[in-house]
Symmetry: C2
Subunit: 277 residues, 2 copies
């Protein structure tokens, strides 16, 4: 999916919501355990209930992998389902991959050729040749970890180098040379509200994938105030706050309600900052 298509979808839907698909077999509604593949059934119901409010889905590979082969079947099936039924949805394989070149090339083959996702999250620790094998697929994206939403982001990402540049800034500065804004996004946690200004100073145009709104406590208002660009430039993810809004048989309706609330807030913010009229 091209940058222009993503922006077009955001404007027409009045939403920059990404719904995170983290289907934990221990947390999904009990009645789904009777289904042939409960993870798939759960995700499909969530997608059908929220698609009108969202522009992206982010299956978190850990949750599928934890079920082994059955999980991979569910993952392949849900991505296929979204691609076929909702082709305007941007699908991000949240995998945090990254390895030496010949191995990253195989991870790229897995997510782009086999799974057919639009984007993959990549960890930057191993540097340029661990990231570039994911580039060069037309219409596909790398979403590189910059400043994450968790407590551990303070352990290394915020450490300044000899020149006062923090690691996440060095990651952004270096990676700008590897890829254009048409193929590279960054992960920036919503819990890092005040850092969005610093990030926009060095990555003014890249889309940012923003986890951490909801269960992790980040503020959508702050993210929009400091992170939004004229093209929006944001995909804000909510996982647990939407998909586990109810543990009962009404889980899909509850998910729709939460997604709808976020979409309404987002529509206001898109107007406030002049992305839509």
């Amino acid at each position: 999916m091209t940058r222009q298509e993503i922006i077009g979808n955001i404007k027409s839907k009045g939403s920059f919501l990404c719904v995170g698909l983290d289907p934990d077999i221990k947390k999904i509604p009990q009645h789904l355990l009777r289904e042939e593949n409960p993870l798939y059934s759960f995700c499909k119901a969530i997608v059908d209930a929220t698609a009108q409010y969202a522009v992206a889905y982010k299956p978190n590979l850990a949750f599928f992998e934890s079920m082994g082969v059955e999980g991979w079947l569910a993952l392949e099936d849900i991505v296929k389902y979204i691609n076929e039924k909702y082709p305007d949805q941007f699908v991000i394989a949240d995998a945090k991959r990254g390895d030496i070149g010949n191995t990253s090339k195989l991870y790229a083959r897995a997510v782009f050729e086999h799974l057919n996702a639009d984007a993959v999250t990549v960890a930057p620790y191993m540097g340029e040749d661990s990231v570039t094998p994911f580039l060069g697929y037309p219409g596909k994206w790398v979403v590189l970890l910059a400043l994450t939403s968790n407590k551990g982001s303070h352990d290394f990402q915020l450490t300044p180098d000899e020149n006062g540049k923090r690691l996440f800034e060095n990651v952004i500065l270096a990676s700008q040379k590897w890829a254009t804004t048409d193929e590279l996004m960054y992960v920036v946690g919503a819990t890092q509200g005040c850092m969005f200004e610093d990030i926009r100073a060095i990555a003014p145009d890249n889309f940012l994938l923003v986890p951490g709104v909801g269960a992790q406590g980040g503020s959508l208002e702050d993210v929009a105030q400091y992170g939004m660009t004229k093209d929006c430039g944001l995909l804000v993810n909510s996982s647990r706050g939407i998909i586990y809004a109810s543990a009962g048989e009404d889980f899909a309706e509850a998910a729709a309600r939460e997604a709808s609330k976020l979409r309404d807030q987002m529509a206001l913010l898109l107007r406030r900052y002049g992305v839509v009229d």
Copy 2:
């Protein structure tokens, strides 16, 4: 597997060889494509041919994932096969995982509970709470990326902070507080020969998993000279140099020959540095 069991296996076999299982469907011998699951058949033949020379196997998850469900079946089957037929082999899931706590927990469930590997490689970028969910499984290990073997290791890992400490040193120093030497190893590339002294200065007792011998050009002699401890403290990995030693029907014999050569060199080094008499 406990640290003492690993050390015992190294001493009794005169080997600290880890064989990397990187089965690329585009590179394995053509006659195997007739098998029901070519990746599994390839890995099984490699394991049977090399088990007497090795103490560990490192399936690289990218190569299995690139085949989707079929690949995951092959991965599960080969780990099960090794665990059953060669229970003294240490199995490292080379996955380079790492995410926020609730997600790392699921990756841990995938590799330790579902796949039943002994260890998993983890990327440190997201800090403590991305690593600790992999700890606390009795007999299971985290192998944390410190200084990798690829060119991109120079992009961030070698960057000094304000106090002159390089990122890989900060990763080692911080992580020593998270886990004991009975559950934490580090990845240090063989291509970084002269750095082993610096690493041993801050991680004198941790086992190091050392890729980069063979196809990537690292020297086994240098690694042993600067990295070996009284307990050996090393698992040196070779993937391509062993498993693709021949592309013909004799691939298993060729792999055995290369593994045997490395084992002979390793036996000499274990004697030279007094690990065995």
